[in-house]
Amino acid sequence: MSAAPAASPAAHGPDGMGEPSLVALDRVTFGYGRSTVLQDASFAVSPGEFVAVIGANGSGKTTLMRLALGLLRPSSGEVRLFGTPVNRFHDWYRIGYVPQRASIDATIPVSVDEVVRTGRAAHTGIPRRSSAAEREHLDHVMELMGLDTLRRSPVARLSGGQQQRVLIARALVTAPNLLVLDEPTTGVDADARVILREALAHLVTHERVGVIYVTHDPEGFAGLADRVVEVQHREVVPCDDPSAHGHSHVEPDLEPDLEPDLEPGAELGE
């Protein structure tokens, strides 16, 4: 694994000192066609910080995350990851991403172990097999997510909650400094929610992983989040009382149903 990128002063934490923010969006504007989803939105997460991002369905939460991860290009403003502009960022192993989804698409059977290992796909291949330390970390992640007895099972046979844990394990397999979870409790049963909470608490407390937890349901992060922000009226604003933002809170739908392959000219090339 390569060394951390040189920190750039512009993307340091809120006090402008010390370690750079894990992710920093500075006055970012983005829209789909004529509809502006985010206007001059700013958002940053410091190392080890747990930030919950709430907002009504269609408010732009997922768009905010996709901008933060370089999957979308803002029309104005700047996005930095670990102090590096996102288009020059290469240390992707430092980020774990759990996309929003209903279920795992397994046209072809795929085992839990195989899915989790794809999280490290950029770093493995025949020329470089995984080291003993990496295998040990894989075992640790499987245990943390309660998957150690399911490693050889085809994911299609797992429950929604188990599948979600598989995707979180995939995101954790490179031992990231930042974990981004988009609606992680969608289609997840109560038992899996408990495991997810325990795992997140462990990651934040013992491994100092920064977490961005995107949800429309404030229950999922209660007691875990250091800070809650809300995507509202095209901006990211601090939220003092997340419990006031339940399922009933509705904004005009600015965010189209996201189909990653169909966005007009918004995808980044290599």
């Binding site: 046209t107 072809i108 795929v110 493995t124 291949g125 025949i126």
Partner: protein, 270 residues
């Protein structure tokens, strides 16, 4: 019964058929998971234009097919998976078959040779052809083994693969080029119109009985090779069209694995 192996032409057909039958499903596994099952068919049309062009300039047909199919793979790779790509795909493919026919008729190619390109003529191969096919099949196997991990990541979840640092666009291009190699390698044995079946049909059969991606690939490769061998032997004993016998054997394998899967109580994979 006559021993088919006593004949040189059967030895050559079996070597070529088994090699391409084993290699094609390895590429098919990724194509099927990416829901691009018909891309091989399309590239087959382009290869037909390449064969026509080669005939016009008295060049080896395989060389023409390989050149034009790889060029088409690069062009299609740049189009990505945007909605407009579907239409340009159709234009390239129909243009391919029309140009092929135009060139071949200009070159004064006879109907038998033309049928050989479209439906294969495995019993007419010389050892030079077999060496070509073997080279292409080995290149495909080596590339799939080397790129297995990132190919799986991209086939399974393109967006997460991108965030994990996988060069998604390059991998997609590599996969299309592998499809092109399989098409050209399979052309002499099963023909341009049926070679895609060797990529997709054994994988469909294998997906019903395997529990992992790797298992599906190994089973698919085995079913592909066995279908080629059994199909060729059937065609020898009962005077059948070899390529039809090969593909129908692979389809029969589908029926067998579907029955096995339902007997086991495992849901069928479509």
């Amino acid at each position: 019964m006559t021993n088919p192996l006593a004949f040189d032409f059967m030895q050559r057909a079996l070597v070529a058929g088994v090699l391409i039958g084993a290699a094609a499903p390895l590429v098919g596994a990724f194509v099927v998971q990416r829901r691009q099952s018909l891309i091989g068919d399309g590239l087959g049309h382009v290869a037909f234009a390449g064969v026509g062009l080669a005939s016009l300039f008295a060049v080896e047909p395989l060389v023409g097919a390989l050149g034009l199919t790889l060029a088409a793979a690069v062009i299609l790779g740049r189009q990505g998976r945007r909605p407009a790509a579907d239409l340009s795909l159709a234009l390239v493919f129909y243009g391919g078959i029309a140009l092929g026919l135009l060139f071949l008729s200009r070159a004064g190619t006879g109907l038998n040779t033309l049928m050989g390109f479209l439906f294969g003529s495995p019993l007419n191969l010389d050892w030079g052809d077999v060496a070509w096919i073997a080279g292409l099949a080995f290149a495909v196997v080596i590339a799939v083994v080397a790129l297995y991990s990132p190919l799986l990541a991209v086939a399974f979840d393109e967006e997460a693969a991108r965030v994990a640092g996988v060069r998604v666009d390059r991998l997609a291009l590599a996969l299309t080029m592998l499809v092109a190699l399989v098409i050209v390698g399979g052309m002499p044995a099963v023909g341009l119109l049926l070679v895609s079946a060797l990529m997709v049909v054994p994988i469909a059969a294998a997906a019903r009985i395997a529990h992992s991606y790797r298992g599906t690939m190994i089973w698919g490769s085995t079913i592909g090779a066995a279908s080629a061998a059994i199909g060729l032997l059937c065609s020898f004993w009962w005077n059948l069209s070899p390529s039809a016998a090969i593909v129908l054997t692979a389809i029969a394998a589908n029926i067998v694995t579907a029955a096995t899967a339902s007997a086991r109580g495992k849901g069928a994979v479509s």
